[in-house]
Symmetry: C2
Subunit: 142 residues, 2 copies
């Protein structure tokens, strides 16, 4: 394994350029493979004002941390709603059903970093995401 690795995401304002390119999911770019991360994973994420995640999901094994860099948003966590802004660090534990949106009034897209880990090598963590469509569980923002 390389002793160190570097990946240039560009400034948060340029993250969107990678959608369909280096972003490998709409609005999300995982850095895990680019960096050969072993014990935790990282992604950079962007959502335009007024947009929301397309579904809820929970993780049975992974702990996740959301670090908001730009924009104003809300996270739905089971029955709670948490407002976030630049500088917000939000830990979400296992089993918590979550979804999020960038507020329609946000002056910039919401841009955030997501870190995930489970106390094991990431490659040894089985797929543990439980997605729930909002047609089954309505989103609090309609």
């Amino acid at each position: 394994m390389k002793k160190w690795s570097l990946f240039e995401t560009g400034t948060p304002q340029s993250w969107k350029e990678h959608v369909g390119g280096r972003f490998n999911t709409k609005g999300k770019k995982f850095l895990d493979r680019d960096l050969a991360l072993e014990f935790f994973g990282v992604s950079v994420n962007e959502l335009a004002a007024g947009e929301h995640a397309p579904f809820w999901h929970a993780h049975s094994t992974l702990e996740e941390l959301y670090l908001v860099i730009e924009g104003e948003g809300e996270f739905a966590l089971d029955d709670d709603i948490v407002a976030v802004q630049p500088g917000s660090a939000l830990r979400v534990g296992q089993g918590v059903m979550r979804s999020w949106r960038c507020l329609p009034t946000s002056e910039t897209p919401m841009r955030w970093i997501c870190i995930r880990g489970a106390g094991a090598k990431l490659a040894d963590v089985p797929p543990d995401a439980k997605p729930v469509l909002y047609t089954e569980k309505p989103l609090p923002w309609g």
Copy 2:
């Protein structure tokens, strides 16, 4: 354990206000306890233009990831020097001796997020840092 936890770091531009307050080491604020993180740790960090880390160090167990948010700097990694800028994501593996600086020409302080993990509960990772004073191992920037 709480299902989720939130900590407001403020914008990167305000991180420095926490020195001596919420910053618990010069230029560094760990969020681990504030968030009750279980599997990985996170800190926000700031160094003024022209300043450098006061020593080298390596970790025998922890994998670390540095995400640069603002400013221009350099990381010394064993015998390599890596230039970093906003958006740089730098993974540093175990055993690599590292130090860093914010360039004297940087227009802003260097502000970065550091994530660390070892494939175990963070509380079960023994102290694994090996610091080396620059009086013993000279820094490449003198």
